[in-house]
């Protein structure tokens, strides 16, 4: 239990928004794995951000935009964002200091199911599609990312929610799925086996860059697919209405 104000709200906001320098980020991730209270604060901030995003994903439209062909495609994404935001939001709203016997990384999924998730009722039919972006392969970061991915998948399975989760890996994140560098290869293999709706996708540009700049020919873990560009893939997915989470 660290002193509660070791990290200011500003600092943690910056962490959640991906605005910290690499080594500061690493420090928070390390701390997160042992400090439950900190984990809760980060979780709350993330939940808040997802809520705001979801609240306007599907705003009331003026007639001009209602005619536009893009809107139909957006609707599915809105539903996905909604489910996601709800699960995150319930996670933090229900999370109280009183329930500290829960493991530290309790994010939405488990808590959401405890709440019987009534809000999800309206959207169960729509497929949920989530793209998760990993661009850091520090051990603590990858552990956290895998926790979140697994939590999300469990949540959808528990709610019989038709879902697809795509983990897009680029930049410094590549180590997560490199056969010679992955910190948790067996966990990734297990997730791939357990969840047919999960895909790990690595960025070809990053692989090329690694070869060019550092002479490393990256070998990937089995089952990891390669996409042309991580950034392009994320943009495509967002255009297709996928919800986007950066971990």
């Amino acid at each position: 239990m660290s002193e509660p104000d070791k990290y200011s709200d500003e600092f943690l906001s910056a962490f959640v928004d991906g605005q910290l320098a690499a080594e500061e980020k690493e420090r928070v991730y390390l701390e997160l794995s042992r400090d439950e209270a900190l984990g809760r604060r980060v979780c709350e901030l993330r939940g808040m951000r997802e809520l705001v995003r979801a609240a306007y994903e599907n705003p009331p439209l003026p007639s001009r935009l209602r005619r536009a062909p893009t809107i139909g495609r957006r609707a599915a994404g809105a539903a996905a964002a909604l489910v996601l935001a709800l699960s995150l939001a319930l996670g933090w709203l229900l999370q109280t200091p009183a329930v500290s016997q829960q493991p530290p990384d309790q994010t939405a999924p488990a808590v959401g199911s405890a709440a019987d998730a009534p809000p999800a009722a309206g959207v169960t039919g729509a497929p949920v599609r989530v793209v998760i972006h990993v661009s850091d392969s520090g051990r603590a970061h990858v552990a956290q990312a895998l926790d979140e991915i697994e939590g999300l998948l469990k949540f959808y399975r528990a709610h019989h929610q038709n879902a697809r989760v795509e983990v897009v890996i680029n930049g410094d994140g590549l180590g997560m799925v490199r056969a010679d560098a992955a910190p948790f290869p067996e966990r990734i293999r297990r997730l791939q086996r357990e969840y047919g709706n999960l895909v790990f996708a690595a960025c070809q540009n990053t692989i090329d860059r690694l070869r060019r700049d550092r002479g490393i020919a990256a070998r990937l873990l089995p089952g990891v697919v390669v996409i042309d560009s991580g950034v392009a893939q994320i943009t495509r997915r967002q255009h297709q209405g996928w919800a986007y989470i950066q971990v």
């Binding site: 709200d9 906001s13 808040m48 306007y56 709800l86 709203l93 009183a98």
Partner: protein, 186 residues
């Protein structure tokens, strides 16, 4: 000459199409600032028109999105300077789609979130929506709104803190146990 003229029109058309792709996203932000469909639509339209006129300025395409939102922020600012009706975020638009009973819990929550955002001071509302919805960096938001980056961070933090309290008050009673009193640590 003809070739040049043709090139100009082709370029303009390409720019127009490119800008048009931003319409929905711009509208979302404009709506989150105004909570008024017609006004948000006008602001979006005005932004795109201005952007098209000034598109020659835009060399660097990576700066494109931030540049567009900066125009939007200016349009928004000008609008309220002209009309001086800053204080009233049209409450009726927030109630308007609070449908009858069968509204799902999800929709209700989304409406409450919007209502909470509408209650934020304007500056906080702008920062939190730009960061959360568009994922702009703090530096970009500072440029878009033409305020120091420290202001961006403090507004964002205050906004999130307040939203958390408000939404907890709205939503927690049913869910949280009585002892679930959370002390906010400064």
């Amino acid at each position: 000459m003809t070739m040049n003229g043709f090139g100009f029109f082709a370029r303009t058309r390409a720019t127009r199409e490119k800008l048009e792709q931003h319409r929905l996203r711009l509208y979302r932000i404009a709506y989150s600032w105004t909570h008024n469909r017609a006004l948000a639509d006008d602001l979006t339209q005005e932004t795109l028109a201005k952007a098209l006129r000034n598109s020659a300025q835009l060399r660097d395409h990576d700066a494109g999105a931030a540049w567009l939102y900066r125009i939007l922020a200016n349009c928004y600012h000008d609008h309220f300077r002209r009309t001086r009706e800053m204080e009233e975020i049209a409450e009726e638009t927030l109630i308007e789609h609070s449908g009858p009973e069968q509204e799902s819990g999800a929709r209700q929550l989304m409406r409450k979130v919007r209502a909470a955002i509408a209650r934020l001071p304007e500056g906080q509302r702008q920062v939190v929506t730009l960061v959360d919805m568009e994922g702009f960096s703090y530096v970009e938001v500072a440029q878009i709104l033409d305020v120091p980056i420290g202001t961006v961070m403090s507004r964002l933090c205050r906004a999130r803190g307040v939203l958390k309290e408000w939404l907890r008050a709205e939503l927690a009673p049913a869910a949280a146990a009585p002892e679930a009193k959370i002390r906010r640590i400064k």
